[in-house]
Amino acid sequence: MVLEVRLFAVLRERAGAASLAVELPDAGATVADALRELGACSPPLAAALAEMPLVMAVNRDYAEPGTVLSTGDELALIPPVSGGAR
């Protein structure tokens, strides 16, 4: 299956695109697989993955690396959010 991954803020700028398509096995592919695939197809994203904590949202909920993906899922790669602790 091919899934579209939306990119925001610093990731959108670094990748030079608002989304990227990743090709994954039809059954059993996980969030961790999608992250690996994103890094493989985009060197700027591979660098971002190495330097900042990134979280994947699946169908608009934050997901664990082990979350299994299905055709039609809405994926988004979430860079650190702007809040700050103070």
């Binding site: 925001f8 610093v10 949202a57 934050y62 979430i78 650190p80 809040g83 700050g84 602790a85």
Partner: protein
């Protein structure tokens, strides 16, 4: 109050307007919080919609369930927010102030930590994305 009011949009925010939204005849205390642009000429905000609104609504629903409050509302701006202007406003109404303060504090802390919203500092030609923190993935 049934569904909390949660919006992410590009228009100017008003704490007074949100305070009027949450107040009921049983309200004895209204707490409002405004987060404003400081130190730089402006901040540019970007959000993942509709997830940002959904996440803020869920946070306000949690606050309504956890505290003795009557209403909760929050709005966050996207686009350019100039120095001194609010980028986020939270309003909570309750019979008594203790619950209103506690719920408003919890709501703004979680909105900042969990809503998929990003800010970029703009000062002259200088542009810099805020450092931020990774949102929690469980719960």
């Amino acid at each position: 109050m049934s569904r909390p009011h949660a919006r992410v949009h590009a228009d100017p925010l008003s704490a007074d307007r949100l305070a009027r939204l949450v107040a009921t005849d049983g309200t004895g205390a209204i707490v409002t919080f405004q987060g404003t642009t400081r130190d730089v000429a402006r901040l540019d905000y970007e959000a993942y919609l509709p997830m940002a609104e959904e996440r803020i609504a869920a946070i306000l629903e949690d606050a309504l369930a956890a505290h003795e409050i009557e209403g909760a509302a929050a709005e966050h701006r996207v686009g350019a927010v100039a120095l001194g202007e609010p980028s986020v406003v939270v309003a909570v109404a309750a019979a008594h102030r203790e619950a209103a303060f506690a719920a408003a504090r919890e709501a703004i802390d979680r909105i900042k930590a969990e809503a998929p919203i990003w800010k970029r500092e703009v000062e002259g030609e200088h542009r810099r994305w805020g450092d931020g923190t990774a949102p929690p993935t469980a719960g």
